[in-house]
C-alpha cells in the first residue's frame, strides 16, 4: 500500500505520518512550500527591504524548508519513505504528484476541501485508535468501481485490525441487494458523519479519522 502525505506549513500532519509508518509499505512525503507565501513576502517586503535582502531571505527560507522536509524522513521506522520538495501552489502540486506516482491514498491531519478534487482517496486522521471503519456509498451506478473501493477499504481495515461497515445512503432495495454480497451493509447513515448531498459535501466530525473515497 502506497500513500502520499502532502505537507503544508499551516498544518504538519504528524498523525498521518505516524499512522502511515505502521499502515503503509511506501510513503511519499510531498513537502510544498507555498509559492503564494514567498510571493507575499516579496510583495510586502519589497518596499521596505532592499532587493538583495529579499533574495537572501527567500534563499534562506527555501533552504530551511528543504532541511525541514528532509527531517520528516527520520520519523519513519518501518515504511519505506521518500521525500520530495516543491515550491508551488499546494493543491496543484498534490494533483501533479498523484498523477506521477499514483498513490493508493492521500493522508492528512486536517480536512482540506481542495484535496477532494484530487483523484485519490483522502484520509483525514485524528491520530486515535480506529476500532471500526464506516464506508458511505451514495450511489451504486458504478458498481465495478465501488467494488474496487470496498476491496481497498477492506484491505485497510485488515491492516488496522478493525471492522468495516458499509453505509448505503439512498437505502433503495436494488442498491442494497447489489452491495449485500460485498460486506456488512447498513442502509442508513448514523452518528455525526453524514453525506449532505450528491456533490460530496461531507461534514468531517472532529476527532475522527475519515477516509474519503
Amino acid at each position: 500500500m502506497k500513500c502520499l502525505i502532502p505537507v503544508h506549513q499551516e498544518s504538519f500532519p504528524k498523525n498521518s505520518i505516524k499512522r502511515a509508518d505502521s499502515l503503509c509499505d511506501e510513503v511519499e512525503i510531498l513537502y510544498v512550500l507555498d509559492k503564494k507565501i514567498i510571493e507575499k513576502v516579496e510583495d510586502e517586503a519589497s518596499y521596505i527591504l532592499p532587493t538583495h535582502a529579499i533574495e537572501n531571505l527567500e534563499e534562506f527560507v527555501i533552504n530551511m524548508h528543504k532541511q525541514e522536509a528532509e527531517k520528516t524522513l527520520s520519523e519513519f521506522k518501518r515504511a519505506h519513505a521518500t521525500v520530495s520538495f516543491v515550491v508551488g501552489e499546494f493543491y496543484e502540486s498534490v494533483a501533479k504528484a498523484v498523477l506521477k506516482s499514483a498513490p493508493d491514498m492521500i493522508m492528512q491531519d486536517s480536512f482540506m476541501r481542495g484535496l477532494l478534487s484530487v483523484n485519490a482517496p483522502l484520509w483525514v486522521d485524528s491520530g486515535k485508535k480506529i476500532k471500526e471503519c464506516c464506508m458511505f456509498i451514495s450511489s451504486v451506478k458504478m458498481l465495478a468501481r465501488t467494488k474496487k473501493n470496498i476491496e481497498f477499504a477492506e484491505e485497510l481495515c485488515r491492516r488496522l485490525n478493525s471492522k468495516l461497515y458499509i453505509y448505503y445512503v439512498p437505502g433503495d432495495e436494488a442498491g442494497l441487494s447489489a452491495l449485500r454480497p460485498l460486506g456488512n451493509i447498513v442502509d442508513r447513515p448514523r452518528g455525526e458523519l453524514y453525506i449532505m448531498s450528491r456533490e460530496h459535501h461531507i461534514k468531517v466530525p472532529r476527532k475522527k479519522a475519515v477516509l474519503i473515497l
Binding site: K14, A45, S46, Y47, E68
Partner: protein, 450 residues
C-alpha cells in the same frame, strides 16, 4: 477580464471623480473636499495594494496637483522634508551595521548567555529584536535575525511550543521595539515632522524616547508572558545556538559601534542641528570610515518606503492646509461626543485595527490628520498626545500575517500557523490599546504633555 488589482485602481480613481462632482459641503472649500477625496483614494490604494505602495505614495503626491489643490512647487517641496532625509540617513547607517556583521555578534552572544532555559530564550529573542529595532528598521531586524533564531529553533522538534513562541517572539519584539526611538521606523520621524509642520511643535529624539519607552518597557514583558502562557515551552529543551569562531572585533565592527554611539549621543544632546542632519552625518561617517561604499547604498535604500512617506507627507499637509482634517473631526464628534479620553482610545483602537489590514506607515499617515483635527476642535485633547499615540499604535500589528512585513517574514519559516498568530495577536492588540492609552493619560501628563 479585468484583473482584481486594476479594478481596485479603477474604484480609487472613480472615488476622485465622484468627489469632484458632489457638491461642496458647508464649511469646506473645494480644495478641502477634494483633499478628502485624495484621503479615500489613498486609503483604497494602501489597503488593496492595487499598485505597489511606493507608487501609491507617488499617486497621492501627484493627485493634489492634478486636482488643483496644490501647486507642483508646494508638493515637491514637501518631499524635500527633513523626515525623508532622516529616513535616508537611517537606512544608510543600518546598511553599515548590517554589512559589518555586528548584529550577528551581538545576537549570538546574547542567545548563548541564556543557556538552556526555553522561557528565557524567548525573552532573549524579544529583547534582542526589540533592542536592535531601537536603532534600525524593524523589518530589517526581522530579516537579519531570522537566520540566527531559525538556526536554533530548527533543531527543536516540530511540535515544540518553543518554535512557535520563539518565532512569534521575534516578530513581536521587532514591532514593539520599533516604536521606542526615531530610528526604529519611519512612522516616528514622520510624526515628528507632521507635528512640526502642522502645529509648530518639535519633539526631540530624547523626548520621543521618554514618551515611547514606557510603552516598550511594558509591552515587551507583557508580550513575553502572554506568549509563554499560550505556548509554554517544554522544559529541559536543549537549545543549540549558531556557533561561529570567536574572533576579535573587526575594524569595521569597531567603526560601526563608534559611529552608532556618537550618532545616538548627538541625537540626544545636540538639538540645534535637528535629527536629520545628525543621522546624515552618521551616514557620511559610514562612508568616510570605509564601512560601506556607494554600491551598498544603491543596494540597500528601499526607495518604495521613501516614496510612500513622500505621499504620506503630501496627504497630511494637504488635509491640514485645506482645513479638511478639522471639518472631518467636527463631523466625527457629532457621533462620538467630545470626551477626550473616549476619543483618544478610539483613535488608538482604530489605528491598531486598520494597521492590521494595511501598511503601518499608511495607517499612521491616514490617522494623523484625523487625530490632529480632533485635537483642534475638542478641548482637553492635545495634538501631541493624539499624534504620538497614533504613531505608537501604528506599530502594533500583532494579529495577522499580513499585518506587517516582520510577521510575514517570520511566518514564512513555517514555525507557526496563521491561527497561532491570530490567537496570540488578538489579545495582544487589545493589551496594546490599553497600555498606550494608560501611559498617555497617566504618564504623559507628568511629562508636561496634555
Amino acid at each position: 477580464m479585468i484583473k482584481k488589482k486594476n479594478l481596485y485602481l479603477l474604484i480609487a480613481i472613480l472615488v476622485l471623480v465622484i468627489f469632484y462632482f458632489i457638491p461642496t459641503p458647508a464649511g469646506l472649500t473645494y480644495q478641502g473636499k477634494m483633499m478628502l477625496g485624495v484621503l479615500v483614494f489613498g486609503a483604497i490604494l494602501f489597503v488593496t495594494e492595487a499598485i505597489p505602495l511606493g507608487m501609491a505614495g507617488l499617486a497621492v503626491m501627484v493627485a493634489p496637483i492634478l486636482l488643483s489643490i496644490s501647486t507642483p512647487k508646494e508638493v515637491f517641496a514637501l518631499f524635500g522634508n527633513s523626515a525623508v532625509f532622516f529616513l535616508i540617513g537611517a537606512f544608510i547607517i543600518a546598511a553599515g551595521f548590517q554589512k559589518s556583521g555586528l548584529h550577528e555578534r551581538i545576537a549570538i552572544r546574547i542567545l548563548k548567555r541564556v543557556g538552556d532555559s526555553p522561557k528565557k530564550f524567548i525573552l532573549a529573542i524579544m529583547l534582542l529584536a526589540g533592542g536592535l529595532s531601537l536603532i534600525m528598521s524593524e523589518h530589517g531586524v526581522a530579516a537579519l535575525l531570522l537566520p540566527i533564531v531559525a538556526y536554533s529553533l530548527m533543531k527543536i522538534p516540530e511540535s515544540s511550543n518553543l518554535r512557535k513562541g520563539g518565532m512569534i517572539g521575534l516578530a513581536y519584539g521587532c514591532s514593539i521595539g520599533s516604536i521606542g526611538t526615531l530610528l526604529g521606523c519611519g512612522r516616528n520621524p514622520y510624526t515628528v515632522m507632521y507635528l512640526q509642520q502642522t502645529a509648530g511643535i518639535y519633539i526631540s529624539f530624547t523626548q520621543w524616547i521618554m514618551l515611547a519607552m514606557p510603552v516598550v518597557a511594558l509591552m515587551l514583558p507583557i508580550g513575553w508572558l502572554w506568549l509563554t502562557h499560550l505556548y509554554p515551552p517544554e522544559k529541559n529543551t536543549k537549545i543549540p545556538v549558531l556557533s561561529v569562531p570567536e574572533k576579535k572585533l573587526s575594524a569595521s565592527e569597531k567603526k560601526v559601534a563608534i559611529i552608532l554611539i556618537f550618532t545616538v549621543l548627538a541625537l540626544i544632546f545636540i538639538r540645534n542641528w535637528g535629527v536629520a542632519v545628525v543621522v546624515l552625518l552618521g551616514a557620511l561617517a559610514m562612508f568616510v570610515g570605509g564601512v560601506i561604499d556607494w554600491k551598498d547604498v544603491e543596494r540597500t535604500l528601499p526607495w518604495g518606503i521613501i516614496l510612500l512617506y513622500g505621499g504620506a507627507i503630501t496627504l497630511g499637509a494637504g488635509l491640514y492646509k485645506t482645513g479638511a482634517s478639522d471639518w472631518l473631526a467636527s463631523n466625527i464628534i457629532k457621533f462620538t461626543g467630545t470626551n477626550p479620553y473616549v476619543l483618544l482610545f478610539l483613535l488608538i483602537a482604530i489605528t491598531i485595527l486598520i494597521t492590521e489590514f494595511m501598511s503601518n506607515t499608511a495607517a499612521v499617515a491616514l490617522m494623523l490628520p484625523i487625530g490632529a483635527g480632533l485635537a483642534s476642535v475638542v478641548s482637553g485633547l492635545n495634538v501631541v498626545v493624539t499624534s504620538v499615540a497614533i504613531a505608537l499604535a501604528g506599530g502594533f500589528a500583532f494579529m495577522f500575517v499580513i499585518g506587517t512585513p516582520g510577521n510575514l517574514i517570520t511566518y514564512s519559516t513555517g514555525f507557526y500557523s496563521s491561527k497561532d498568530l491570530l490567537k496570540t495577536g488578538a489579545v495582544l492588540d487589545v493589551i496594546g490599546m490599553v497600555v498606550i492609552f494608560l501611559i498617555a493619560v497617566t504618564l504623559w501628563p507628568l511629562m508636561g504633555v496634555w
